[in-house]
């Protein structure tokens, strides 16, 4: 950790101003910037040092020190490790200048930090709650906030053993009585302030339509209960006829405070919860979390485990992209035939996951320092059959079936365009970024695990429209098949976990940021340990959450029927967006 820190500071040592100091706490990296000069530093980082994409913004509540810290991870789209910088403010009434003017992609993440930690970002254009409901009292990720079913600060709970007299959670807090309302609050006669503010913000469009025809502009809610939104997701749209003037996404309906659950759990207990983020690609989620914790623990998995991990991650990518392509066609109105063709292949891959991990979707297969168990007999042959024979044939079939279809092309080409500059500014990653002509793929840009050993191309397309976002997913499936062939060729024999499997791991003090190129984009896990059996802070940089920044950008000026397809082309999973 210390040599990582020194490389970072020496890399830009002479370019960094003298008012930033290296973070000298043991196990920490990056620099600490004074709050008053944060914006100045952000501009310097973006314009002089080329950190054009702000990957992650989050807060950490250091309750014992009375401090609130905001942690930023910025990266260069030409590749390399992220640059970490932090600001520290007093815990009571923390105010930090917003970096939205520098990196517009900080928008949702700053709102999230406000919502969950109560950090006020001065100058943020729209600082409303984002994940919790609008009337919610308090900021749940603060260390002194306690949930309704609160039992203890950390698992394992003492009530379970050795005197474990069983009871249900709802016996303690009956179902109608498990929500904390502020005093004098009546849910029946209440309009949320946040919703009011949202509509007020959009009302400016209603006043001047500027058109010769005296047309009325309308505010329309698409969702939250809408079959096209891939879950419970709401888009508030201002319409001028059929044209979209502006759009605001509203989400958080599936919020369960994954990060608070993560802080209550022990390190290993958290692994199965990561499955439930992006439930289409649980193996990738496991991968990112395992990498973050392994970095802290300073362990490396054995060779065979590395190969198995890559194999699972690439199979997951194929599954996720197949589902994305299939449901994109559903959104276009090709009702369920393409989806079901895609799901056939997915089922075969899920059979493999089930044989290996015991579960089709909630795999929980990765452990710190390896994987849970070796591949059972016959699995490698099955994967080989799939990868060598069936999958390439089926991908070609999907290609033949859809790519040249005139209806698909008319609906997708030139619709929902996102330029490279805007994609970077809005912190988009994954296929959304690459379809806009930015060849940024973590597997190449900052290789993790053993990706530096494989031959593959970073798929990139240049138009940034829906059609390219569709094509790039097919390209990436083909590249994944290429990687899988190399994995199957090279996979060695040997152990699959370093050391003995442990049900309680010791994680040294410090912070770490593990990131993988998930199917939806850069999936990052920021963890802070204080040496206890539970993480002090556990944060997920969820790619589809952050990619949603681009939705309004792509939808503006388009037709209302296209917004459904545009949303489909971003490929969100609400389990991950809402966390």
């Amino acid at each position: 950790m210390t040599d990582h820190e020194s490389t970072l500071t020496t890399r830009h040592g002479d370019l960094l101003p003298d008012w930033v100091v290296a973070d000298s706490r043991p196990g920490y990296e990056g620099v600490i910037v004074p709050v008053s000069r944060l914006i100045e530093f952000a501009f310097l980082l973006r314009d002089k040092l080329g950190y054009d994409l702000l990957s992650s913004v989050t807060g950490v509540d250091y309750l014992p020190d009375g401090k609130m810290e905001v942690v930023y991870h910025a990266l260069q789209t030409i590749g390399g490790a992220p640059f970490v910088f932090k600001v520290q403010v007093p815990r009571e009434d923390p105010i930090v200048p917003s970096v939205v003017p520098v990196w517009p992609g900080a928008d949702f993440q700053e709102r999230e930090a406000w919502d969950l930690l109560g950090i006020r970002f001065e100058g943020h254009p729209d600082l409303r709650r984002i994940l919790m409901w609008e009337g919610f009292e308090g900021h749940p990720l603060r260390k002194d906030w306690k949930e309704p079913y609160y039992e203890e600060d950390a698992k394992p709970y003492k009530s379970r053993w050795p005197e474990g007299h069983v009871r249900r959670a709802e016996d303690v807090a009956p179902l109608h009585d498990n929500v904390q309302y502020p005093p004098g609050f009546d849910p029946e006669s209440w309009t949320p302030d946040g919703d009011e503010a949202l509509y007020r913000g959009l009302r400016k469009y209603l006043e001047d339509s500027g058109s010769e025809l005296k047309t009325d502009r309308l505010i329309v809610n698409l969702g939250p209960q809408h079959p096209s939104t891939h879950g419970v997701f709401r888009m508030v749209v201002v319409l001028d006829g059929e044209t979209i003037v502006d759009l605001k996404p509203v989400f958080g309906y599936l919020h369960r405070n994954h990060e608070k659950i993560g802080e209550r759990c022990t390190w290993i207990q958290n692994m199965p919860f990561t499955d439930r983020l992006d439930y289409i690609s649980s193996m990738s989620n496991n991968f990112g979390y395992a990498l973050a914790v392994e970095k802290l623990m300073g362990i490396k998995p054995p060779e065979r485990a590395e190969y198995i991990r890559v194999m699972m991650a690439e199979l997951t990518r194929i599954v996720s992209h197949l589902v994305a392509v299939g449901f994109l066609l559903n959104d276009l109105g090709a009702f369920f035939t393409p989806v079901l063709y895609a799901l056939e292949e997915r089922e075969l891959i899920l059979d493999i996951f089930e044989a290996v991990s015991g579960s089709r979707m909630m795999c929980n297969y990765f452990r710190f320092g390896g994987v849970a168990r070796d591949l059972p007999e016959g699995v490698l042959e099955r994967v080989r059959d799939l990868v060598e024979n069936r999958l390439p044939r089926k991908i070609d079939e999907i290609d033949r079936y859809l790519t040249k279809n005139e209806i698909v092309r008319t609906r997708c080409e030139g619709v929902g365009v996102l330029t490279a500059e805007r994609a970077i500014a809005l912190s988009a990653t994954g296929p959304v970024l690459r379809a806009s002509g930015v060849p940024y793929d973590l597997r190449r840009a900052d290789p993790y695990s053993i990706y530096d050993r494989f031959e593959f191309d970073v798929a990139v397309r240049y138009h940034g429209d829906i059609y390219d976002r569709y094509l790039i997913r097919l390209d990436e499936i083909r590249q994944s098949i290429r990687i899988l062939k190399q994995v199957l060729r090279d996979i060695p024999e040997g152990p699959v976990i370093s050391g003995k499997p442990q049900w309680q791991v010791r994680v040294p003090t410090g912070e770490s940021y593990g990131r993988v190129e998930g199917p939806k984009g850069e999936l990052g896990f920021y963890v802070v340990s204080n040496g206890k059996p539970n993480p002090w802070r556990y944060h997920v940089r969820a790619p589809s959450f952050i990619n949603l920044h681009t939705l309004a950008e792509m939808a503006r000026g388009g037709k209302v029927a296209d917004v459904v397809v545009i949303l489909g082309s971003i490929d969100i999973v609400l389990g991950e967006v809402d966390r």
Binding site: P156, W161, E344, A355, N364, E377
Partner: protein, 198 residues
């Protein structure tokens, strides 16, 4: 020519449609409601119709499949049950949603703990089937089941499994997970042999 893309796409769907009947014709009656037919339709060579007619047909589950834990007991010669569980509590401590409750037995005379559970509960509404309890149990006493059809009419009465409902014989475990059972038995015997040798 405009429209060729649509037509070529339709050729793909038509092919799928035909395939189902071709496969039916080739395989005859054994394609449906037979083990062979199910295996064929779930295999990598599958063509045409792909789905399984649940509940008349069921996909075979792989050995590692995990669903709700159970407690393993060894059967004595006279049919008495010897639970392997020593109530050490590792499963309750590693359980992510904390759905396991154990009451340890105390010796009525000395008051010291005895290695056997007095009570053992799993709230199956909370269990997330992660399999940690089975993975980290040092005594091979708790294992994941294969039976996924446990729907019931009354969740208040029936969804907290007690010792009686959780206990299943080692022979059942050997049946659902033959490879794991064989490996674990061999390991235990090797350990015992090592212990017996001076």
């Amino acid at each position: 020519m405009n429209g060729m893309g649509v037509l070529k796409g339709l050729a793909v769907t038509f092919r799928h449609f035909i395939d189902t009947y071709l496969e039916d014709f080739k395989a005859g009656k054994k394609r449906y409601f037979t083990e062979e037919g199910i295996r064929q339709r779930a295999s990598i060579e599958a063509k045409g119709i792909f789905s399984i007619q649940y509940p008349e047909e069921k996909l075979p589950v792989p050995e590692e499949f995990r669903y709700i834990p159970f407690l393993v007991y060894d059967e004595g010669e006279n049919g008495e049950r010897a639970l392997r569980c020593t109530s050490c509590g590792i499963c309750a401590k590693v359980c992510p949603p904390q759905c396991i409750w154990i009451v340890r037995t105390n010796d009525p005379v000395t008051g010291k703990p005895v290695p056997a559970p007095a009570e053992f509960y799993i709230d199956v509404d909370i269990c997330m089937n992660c399999g940690y309890c089975a993975e980290y149990c040092p005594f091979d006493a708790i294992k994941m089941d294969h039976n996924y059809e446990i729907a019931s009419y009354d969740r208040f009465k029936e969804h907290i499994f007690d010792l009686n409902k959780l206990s299943k014989p080692a022979s059942y475990y050997a049946k659902i997970r033959p490879a794991n059972f064989a490996r674990e038995t061999a390991e235990r015997e090797a350990k015992a042999a090592k212990k017996a040798a001076p």
